[in-house]
Symmetry: C2
Subunit: 221 residues, 2 copies
């Protein structure tokens, strides 16, 4: 496989690269909530100076992933129960809107594609493959979001779900919850295929509310 020598050369600014890497590390749980982030350490780890690192930190702080305390540095933002209680209803409202818009704009091809993923996801559920299930679940949500044709909305959703994504590690769904989630997804897909925006909105909102319950249960035990 040869590379395209005529492709545009792109060199991103360091602060961008750093922000992406750190964001990934936080969202994927490689950096624990509450962990102190020393500028010096991170600089030597990434081999950059403090200037671009600090710029990246400002971005992450604005996104709510990191907490900047004047004169005493930076910590990974903690996820409290209150945070989840705040975030999930918002995500519910945004998902509901996404669904409504998606029903307006989605193409048949997109629906087919989602159906494919949906069926594969159900099979992952039947096989008990939680990790794969999550991945497909996420892809479906992404596609619905894309079908809403609203980049601003997509970006806000992404940002919010990034913040709470860390909670997933703690949230190992009970079998009952999982079964229920799959049933919900079934209905969600049906509403989408029927392009019933109102119904889809309600379903998604409820789905998110249930998700919150699942996560909270897993957290408080």
């Amino acid at each position: 496989m040869s590379i395209d020598v005529a492709a545009p050369i792109q060199r991103r600014p360091l602060h961008n690269e750093l922000a992406d890497r750190l964001r990934h590390m936080i969202v994927e749980g490689e950096l624990a909530p509450g962990e102190k982030l020393s500028e010096k350490d991170l600089c030597s780890q990434f081999g950059v100076s403090r200037t671009p690192l600090r710029e990246a930190m400002k971005v992450l702080a604005t996104e709510g992933l990191v907490l900047l305390t004047p004169n005493r540095g930076c910590t990974v933002a903690k996820l409290t129960l209150a945070d989840l209680d705040e975030a999930f209803p918002i995500m519910g409202a945004l998902e509901a809107l996404s669904g409504e818009l998606a029903c307006r704009y989605i193409t048949d091809a997109e629906i087919t594609r989602i159906q494919e993923l949906h069926e594969r996801m159900v099979r992952k559920y039947e096989a008990g493959a939680l990790r794969d299930y999550f991945k497909l679940n996420e892809q479906i949500h992404q596609l619905i979001l894309a079908a809403a044709r609203n980049p601003t909305l997509a970006q806000m959703q992404l940002s919010l779900s990034g913040r709470v994504r860390r909670a997933r590690y703690m949230a190992n769904m009970s079998p009952a919850r999982w079964t229920r989630a799959v049933a919900e997804h079934e209905k969600i897909f049906e509403a989408l295929a029927a392009r019933d925006g109102k119904r889809l909105a309600v379903l998604l909102k409820e789905h998110l509310a249930n998700k919150l319950q699942t996560v909270k249960e897993a957290l408080t035990e």
Copy 2:
């Protein structure tokens, strides 16, 4: 009037102060959309070095108020029609959620306070004082938001409305629109006072949709 000499001394970091000032300048229209922001000029204007200024810029870029193009500087983000089309439905969804939550948590005292403001706002309408009307309108929205008891939601709303606030300057409501807006506010207040969350949500969503129309009309003429 004496000052409290025992009050905690607070010195904010420069990047914070800068971000606030620049945000204000952009949102209030002192910096025109599309305007190039030269680091050097801003530095001499504020009397600071480029480091904290650049940090502030990263924050504003994340908030969507400013556009950072690698190696060629920073411009005030433009507000396109598409941006408005994207932002208003989101604001509608968030307002709807705020309203629903507010109905759950609002106290009688808060309702009384809002009623006061509402009545004053109506009088400003009758007097044709648009500026004052807007101010009161905004305060009411703020109070509803506060009653929703969801800081994350409040913060997202604030950020979004900051982005589109600049459109207001162009949007000089027609008398007919204004009359209609006041009527809508009347109903909104009634629903809130009755703590009818579902109804309030619908009203707020519609209100925002109408607002979008108003702004778009004003823009395209």
